[in-house]
Amino acid sequence: MNLSVSIGSLTLVNPLIAASGCFGYGVEYADVVDLSTLGGVAVKGLFLAEREGHPPPRIVETPAGMLNAIGLQGIGVHRFVREKLPELRDRRAVVFVNICGTTIDEYCEIARILSDHEGVAAIELNISCPNIKQGGITFGCSLTGTHDVVSAVRKVTPLPVIPKLTPNVTDVASFARAAEDAGADAVSLVNTFLAMAIDVHTRRPKLTNIVGGLSGPAIRPIAIRMVYECRQAVKLPIIGMGGIATAEDVLEFMIAGATAVQIGTANFVDPFLWRKIIDGLHAYMTSHQIDTLATLTGSLDTSRQATAWISS
């Protein structure tokens, strides 16, 4: 059985990628999972410089999900290539480096630095973090901003460029199109949904940052719908994510149009879930007599449904 999938020039052993912000720098998990058995590892978002992030509390649970406002605490790209990348390389991880900037120049500078180091498989452009005031989402919420940052980074790196899209827009498919027009190799979606929770006894927000990003099973049906909409709008490979915890969830995203998927919040609950999901994919392929998992991508059968309401 063949679980491999292709994202442009990249071939992944399977469609499972650890989601950025949910897997540290990957090395933290080397004891619990052989990183080379994952399709990829998307490391925590990196700016050029180190960042401290927001004061705690940084997370709060909500029904079937959680809010986070970490604020992109990180070691910066220079320390990353020095302190983390060699170990990731030794462990044969397929490394997706998630990068953030406050300006297009910063994105380009980080992309250039990463392109000079062996062991980076792709660059994921974080233009969608809902928790920081400057940068990132200011590009991700504007079609021209998305186009400009993608095309600028495209020019400075030979690595695959994958913008990570926010769901906090009216029509995410138009952002996928802007990314495609600008030369992106794939898009990943969705980042978290901007959300909020309040302690009614103290009348205070439960997060120091007041608002945060919702993730977990609660968002999965919306994420599926958004992947489906983007599949109709672009030819690019789509990396789908949002509340994936089981093999069935992975299959749902692939059938909706995802080539690969990312798993985040569920890894907090069960850091050993990767093997279980791979086993679940094998079982599905056996029972449905599928040799090549990639053939599932975009295989949704809507022939019996009216689809006229879908915006595209």
Partner: protein, 274 residues
């Protein structure tokens, strides 16, 4: 390397309206655990609550030959997860991931170990007391709670040759007032030449007061902090604690990896959520 087991609940002993001790069959985790380490518990299979909760390993359970068979947790009913655990029945199962975190370093003679616990902050000290006993280290437990019925497992510490010194806010058992009262009396009565190491776990204001006292008497103090924790493995960056750095501004570190045990002088107490 942490292990995740579907641990059978051996017993759930209610100590009071809010406290219970939950015994879990988890021999591998029990045999790996070091003093002051923690586990991440998933009390229900569903998505509410979604995340695991961190718990100190309270006791290492052993069979008659002394081989580790499991662990227990000192549970205080606060939210959804801890209520599920309080109501859990023997024969049921919970997800148990561990052991995790930086352990206590038990001192060796001639140094003495003074443990300072507030309420459910007693939890990491049984394993520490066992480590101290194995080293032959003289140990005391300064143990405070709101009322006498909240003081639990004192006899267990006595069996581990720990001298208990109790305090309750209502004066129903031990000294009336906070546990820092008898701690300060003992610190001031002990010659500087006696080596004493202080270990503290409890409510943040208590740990902060203990850290201050220890520093003023020139004693090294380790604190075990409890932060809101998402994963326990360093993935999520939610359990951070602001710590001093030798050069430069304070820095957020993950309490799951750098802690939960910290040298108290590293902590920026004003930044710690209560």
């Amino acid at each position: 390397m942490p292990i995740d087991v579907d641990a059978r609940i051996i017993s759930n002993t209610r100590l009071s309206r809010d406290y219970s001790v939950v015994a879990l069959a988890a021999p591998e985790i029990a045999s790996l655990a070091e003093p002051g380490q923690f586990v991440m518990i998933k009390a229900s299979a569903g998505v509410d609550p979604l995340l695991r909760r961190p718990f100190s390993i309270f006791e290492i359970l052993r069979d008659r030959e002394g081989a580790p068979t499991g662990i227990s947790l000192l549970n205080k009913r606060i939210g959804v997860g801890t209520s599920l655990l309080y109501d859990a029945t023997p024969g049921g199962h919970v997800g148990c991931l561990g052991p995790l975190g930086r352990p206590f370093q038990p001192v060796t003679p001639p140094a003495e170990a003074w443990m300072v616990a507030g309420g459910v902050g007693l939890a990491p000290f049984v394993t520490l007391a066992e480590g101290l006993l194995a080293n032959g280290t003289k140990a005391r437990l300064f143990y405070g709670a709101r009322t006498g019925s909240d003081l639990t497992h004192v006899e267990l510490f006595e069996r581990l040759r720990v001298e208990p010194i109790l305090a309750t806010e209502d004066g129903s058992r031990g000294t009336r007032g906070f546990v820092t009262g008898p701690l300060e009396a003992a610190l001031s009565a002990t010659p500087r030449s006696n080596d004493v190491r202080v270990y503290a776990c409890g409510p943040t204001p208590m740990m902060r007061a203990v850290a201050k006292l220890a520093a003023s008497y020139g004693r090294q103090c380790d604190v075990s902090l409890e932060q809101v924790m998402g994963c326990g493995l360093g993935g999520c960056y939610s359990c951070v604690v602001l710590t001093r750095t030798p050069a430069g501004p304070p820095h957020f570190v993950r309490s799951c990896l750098d802690g939960p045990v910290f040298d108290a002088t590293r902590i920026v107490w004003d930044a710690l959520a209560h």
